[in-house]
């Protein structure tokens, strides 16, 4: 595979392959030497146009555990602040000869553009409200570790679905792995058109007791341009996930960062039914597996066994 831009790029077999590599890397993390040499001498650039703690640090650790060299470029403090365009930044960074560019952008579709401007493989680390494929893959990984399989599993995704790239990627990934998915929240944040993704749409939490897994989303106030909610208090009263609404057997997930006491109660975050810390831990091994996946097959062997240059030359714009 050349790029990972969206969960739509992956079929179930490819997801399985990524998850099995991630499981291997989880064992590596238990060894005295926590590295493998797959990316020795290779360069991974993390290009982040948006704030991020866990995604950026886990991509950095993932690349380092594969023995890659890592360059982190964040928008603040770089020439982006001086007005450099995405195209020019990518062209400049490409001159360093990266093997993989990991990009996070506030603009949907930016990673796809970048893929056309560079010889490197491109991994989408979140683009606007569009996709966050590595988050969805690590969520599938965590659920598989816990449940064995997602086949027939009833998963509810609750909260600000409208502004959430995590929700879009997760709905697609969970359905691909055989789960039944329901999205729930206030009508302003959970439009009925979401049913087109193949999930159920609910506007109350009345039947949330049916869920095996409840996935809370962060209220993304930074992306809300209009008044989507009367007040946080009213939202919490109707939609907050807490131990009053959920049964002890139901697993709870959240992509982070959490607004404690808004979309999810503090006591639920810290309870034994919460998988939130496992999600963070899985971030490294799943991102290692994704980096390996995009690097594979980027060169071809000629009949004489010699190495050739990059196989799929992008049309550089």
């Amino acid at each position: 595979m050349r790029h990972l831009l969206s969960i739509e790029d992956l079929d179930r077999d490819e997801i399985e392959r990524i998850l099995s590599a991630a499981a291997f890397f989880a064992d590596v993390a238990d060894r005295p030497i926590k590295k493998v040499p797959s990316f020795r001498g290779r360069l991974v650039i993390n290009l982040f146009y948006e704030a991020s703690t866990r995604t950026r640090s886990s991509f950095e650790l993932a690349a380092k555990r594969l023995s890659a060299d890592v360059l982190n470029v964040v928008a603040s403090g770089s020439s982006v602040e001086k007005g450099e365009s995405l195209h020019d930044t990518v062209s400049t960074l490409s001159a360093y000869g990266p093997d993989v560019i990991v990009i996070r952008s506030p603009h949907a579709g930016a990673p796809g553009l970048v893929a056309g401007w560079t010889h490197a493989a491109v991994v989408n680390a979140g683009d606007g409200k569009h996709q966050h494929p590595t988050q969805a893959l690590l969520d599938v990984y965590v659920l598989r570790q816990r449940l064995g399989s997602l086949e027939g599993c009833d998963i509810w995704i609750v909260g600000d679905v409208l502004h959430s790239r995590v929700a879009r990627s997760c709905v697609q990934a969970f359905i691909k792995m055989g789960a039944e998915v329901t999205v729930a929240g206030p009508p302003t944040l959970v439009p009925t058109e979401l049913a087109a993704l193949g999930c159920n749409v609910r506007h109350t939490l009345e039947h949330i007791g049916e869920a095996d897994v409840v996935y809370a989303l962060r209220l993304q106030q930074e992306r809300m341009s209009e008044d989507f909610l009367p007040s946080l208090r009213e939202y919490a009263a109707n939609y907050q996930l807490n131990s009053r609404r959920l049964k002890a057997r139901q697993l709870v997930m959240h992509p982070g960062p959490v607004n404690r006491g808004v979309e999810i109660s503090g006591e639920l975050i810290d309870s034994s039914q919460s998988l939130i810390i496992e999600q963070v831990r899985a971030g490294i091994v799943v991102r290692m597996a994704v980096l390996v996946e995009v690097l594979s097959g980027t060169r071809v062997r000629d009949p004489g066994g010699q190495r050739l240059a990059v196989s799929a030359e992008p049309q550089l714009a």
């Binding site: 005295p32 594969l66 390996v292 097959g297």
Partner: protein, 189 residues
């Protein structure tokens, strides 16, 4: 890649069983201090099954069980970007302390030596064995690295346009080693 269909059997089921038995005797002969710790480690995928058989022979000869492990070397290879798809990974199982032991690595075919190089690198990331030895069912020559086996089931001089096929009953339904002719781009695969 095309195979012209004709396969010559060079080792049958009995030959393979005899080779494994002979290697087991040699392992005991070469490691007079075997009670100080010899562990058997198979390389995925067919090396794992050959390692299980060698382990079984050693257990019955010694009347004591040695540790048995398996190793997946996918992420230690130097050709990740040359393979069309990311590798399908098997679990590495080395659930014993390796420091100070003699590790016998088991694989099906020794060819360029690159797999063994990767296996040694992988092994050393798990611990610090006192010695590492190499057992292979078939040595087909054409080494690209200075690597030499300690135990060989059969030396099989081949040309580069030949392919050595090792089949084990656990994966392939039968035990045999055959040679076939390969033409085209896959010749070196």
């Amino acid at each position: 890649m095309t195979v012209d269909g004709s396969e010559t059997v060079v080792l049958d089921e009995d030959d393979i069983a005899r080779a494994v038995t002979r290697i087991a005797h040699e392992v005991i002969e070469r490691n007079t201090d075997i009670e100080l710790g010899v562990v058997i480690v198979g390389i995925h995928r067919r090396g794992v099954h050959l390692a299980q058989r060698l382990h079984l022979e050693l257990t019955s000869l010694l009347g004591a069980e040695l540790p048995l492990g398996s190793l997946d070397i996918s992420f230690y290879r130097d050709d990740l970007d040359l393979r069309p798809d990311a590798p399908v990974v098997n679990a590495t199982q080395l659930d014993f302390a390796m420091d100070g032991t003699t590790v016998v690595i088991v694989d099906d075919v020794l060819f360029t030596g690159r797999t063994v190089r990767a296996a040694i690198d992988a092994l050393l990331d798990y611990g610090r064995p006192a010695r590492v030895q190499l057992a292979v069912l078939v040595d087909r020559g054409h080494r690209e690295l200075p690597i030499r086996p300690d135990y060989v089931g059969k030396n099989l001089p081949t040309s580069l346009d030949e392919r050595v096929n090792v089949r084990v009953s656990e994966l392939d339904g039968a035990d045999e080693v055959t040679i076939s002719q390969v033409t085209g781009a896959g010749a070196l695969a």
